[in-house]
């Protein structure tokens, strides 16, 4: 994007006039935002680039409907979030979570967390991230999104509400439901580990 500040308003105006160069600039400007959302909520077996492409195509298709009530990046991130949720819903079946599905590092991290046996090292972070995503795969797409934003991205309830379009009570209900499900998963894993 260079040193020049990106003039989003002017770019949008040119995009509406079907200026291809402006459209390419808009995609390149918004790509980091979109890819961050895609990577956070990427469904299994879906290539991140394909999903990002779908999101941008939806953005171009609906751009005439953008009224400017919210900042354009917020509007695009809402499209990105709903597209990811639709993809997650399309997967339907979630595989059963078993201790045997975990890699050696993931199992070790989980064991440390469950038994609280020792402090984890920074080297365990990658395994922990993979493990968290496997656990989140067990949740319903909407619940997963709330936990992802709340606990991993540390967003506030108000921010999640703005990004998803769900009211704050609904966000809280989904967070509560998701945590209860995760707690049940943890208990099952502890039982399996002991047996």
């Amino acid at each position: 994007m260079g040193d020049d500040p990106f003039d989003l308003v002017a770019c949008l105006e040119r995009v509406r006039q079907r200026d291809q160069k402006a459209s390419r600039q808009l995609v390149e400007h918004l790509y980091p935002l979109v890819i961050r959302i895609v990577r956070s909520h990427l469904p299994r077996r879906v290539a991140e680039e394909d999903l990002a492409q779908d999101i941008f195509l939806k953005m171009f298709t609906r751009i005439a409907q953008y009224q400017g009530n919210v900042p354009f990046p917020h509007w695009v991130s809402r499209i990105a979030v709903t597209t990811c949720i639709d993809q997650l819903r399309a997967q339907k079946r979630r595989p059963e979570f078993r201790w045997a599905d975990l890699s050696e590092n993931e199992a070790e991290v989980l064991d440390n967390v469950l038994t609280d046996s020792r402090d984890t090292t920074p080297g365990d972070a990658l395994a922990a991230r993979e493990l968290v995503h496997k656990l989140l795969d067990q949740l319903k797409p909407d619940d997963r999104l709330v936990i992802q934003l709340l606990d991993l991205e540390q967003r506030t309830i108000a921010e999640i509400s703005a990004q998803t379009g769900w009211n704050q009570t609904l966000v809280k209900v989904r967070a509560f439901r998701a945590r209860r499900k995760l707690q049940k998963l943890f208990q099952e894993l502890q039982t399996k580990e002991k047996s």
Binding site: V27, Q53, L57, A128, F186
Partner: protein, 98 residues
């Protein structure tokens, strides 16, 4: 805070420490490909919600039609038979005319 909350917090705080080494700029040719795809699509899609409504409306109409036939099958059959009788009469009338 219960035991699970502590465990979950510990796990997520550890997961947050993992750095994402993947780049966040668009891959070469990505924007060109997306814009080329988008160029083949209609820019103004105000009709899309109406298309969705129309499709749902069609489904609802089909269900209503089936339900109406199911609940009033006897009348439907009688009506069909009457129509057939009338049609037969019309042919008879035509033959009489000739």
């Amino acid at each position: 805070m219960n035991q699970f909350d502590q465990q979950w917090r510990k796990l997520t705080s550890l997961a947050r420490q993992a750095e994402d080494a993947r780049g966040s700029s668009a891959p070469y040719g990505f924007s060109t490909r997306v814009v080329a795809h988008a160029a083949g699509m209609p820019l103004n899609s105000l009709s899309i919600p109406f298309e969705n409504f129309a499709f749902r409306g069609l489904l609802v109409a089909a269900v209503c039609g089936m339900a109406a036939i199911a609940f009033d099958y006897a009348t439907f059959v009688t009506s069909t038979q009457t129509d057939a009788y009338v049609a037969a009469d019309m042919v008879g009338d035509l033959l009489d005319l000739s």
